[in-house]
């Protein structure tokens, strides 16, 4: 089965961790992820600037590794990201901001990508709240 997975919460929220565990289980079960889409505070789950305490789970780093290892299509909503200071190199230059916190493997794009993923997938599964 093909899944589109939307994440609406930051890396420190339990729902971001649950989304990651769900996504891992999707692949482990032999299913496919059509796209991961990060929206609202979910854009923080993609931030490369998160520093987790040494003895705590680093969910943002795990997301990054998961996306890279499986070469997944992982889109961060550009409007939601700009509003929250999650910027790739192009946007940091465009708005003359001092830091880039969205290097590869993420792609900044628009909400059309969420709709396209929902149409391509058999299931759209969203993770938000706590």
């Amino acid at each position: 089965m093909k899944f589109a997975i939307a994440v609406f919460s930051p890396a420190h929220a339990p729902s971001s961790r649950r989304a990651l565990r769900f996504a891992e289980a999707v692949l482990a079960g032999g299913h496919e992820i059509a796209r991961l889409f990060f929206y609202q505070d979910g854009v923080h789950s993609a931030s490369a600037n998160i520093v987790a305490p040494q003895d705590e789970l680093d969910v943002a780093a795990q997301w990054r590794a998961f996306v890279s290892d499986h070469r997944l299509d992982a889109v961060v909503c550009i409007a939601a990201a700009l509003r929250r200071g999650v910027l790739d190199d192009t946007e940091a230059n465009r708005y003359q901001r001092p830091a880039v916190n969205l290097p590869m493997p993420w792609e900044l794009s628009g909400l059309g990508q969420l709709h396209e993923a929902a149409q391509l997938a058999d299931r759209l599964v969203c993770f938000g709240g706590d």
Partner: protein, 119 residues
């Protein structure tokens, strides 16, 4: 056939970007001619209150953007009757032409759509 999507908007217009971000999903989908519905639930019904003055708290008015929904082809607009009543909002004085639903109709509505996003 395209899958239908119901967007459930649950936040008041003054409580952060959630209301606007739910609306943005609807407007983006409308631009692609997708079969969409929007349901205002819980504090989300405050988005429908008429004569709001968001400039008093230095916010932009969401009402004008909400009015764009039918123009973007999003004509299936609903509000939860229970949520409206609990917040003292008058069903006949709302800023959008929504269909007000009771709890049984809400259940049927959510079941009718292929996919649901709640913000």
């Amino acid at each position: 056939m395209a899958k239908s999507l119901l967007i459930i908007s649950r936040q008041a217009p003054w409580s952060g970007p959630s209301a606007r971000e739910a609306l943005d999903i609807a407007l983006a989908g409308g631009a692609f001619d997708l079969p969409l519905g929007m349901l205002f639930l819980d504090d989300g019904v405050f988005q429908l209150a008429a004569a709001q003055q968001p400039d008093a708290v230095q916010q932009k008015n969401l009402a004008a953007n909400l009015q764009a929904l039918p123009m973007f082809g999003v004509e299936e607009l609903f509000a939860c009757g229970h949520s409206l009543a609990r917040r003292g909002l008058d069903n006949d004085a709302l800023s959008l032409p929504v269909e007000v639903l009771d709890n049984a109709a809400l259940t049927a509505l959510i079941a009718r759509f292929d996919q649901v996003v709640t913000l």
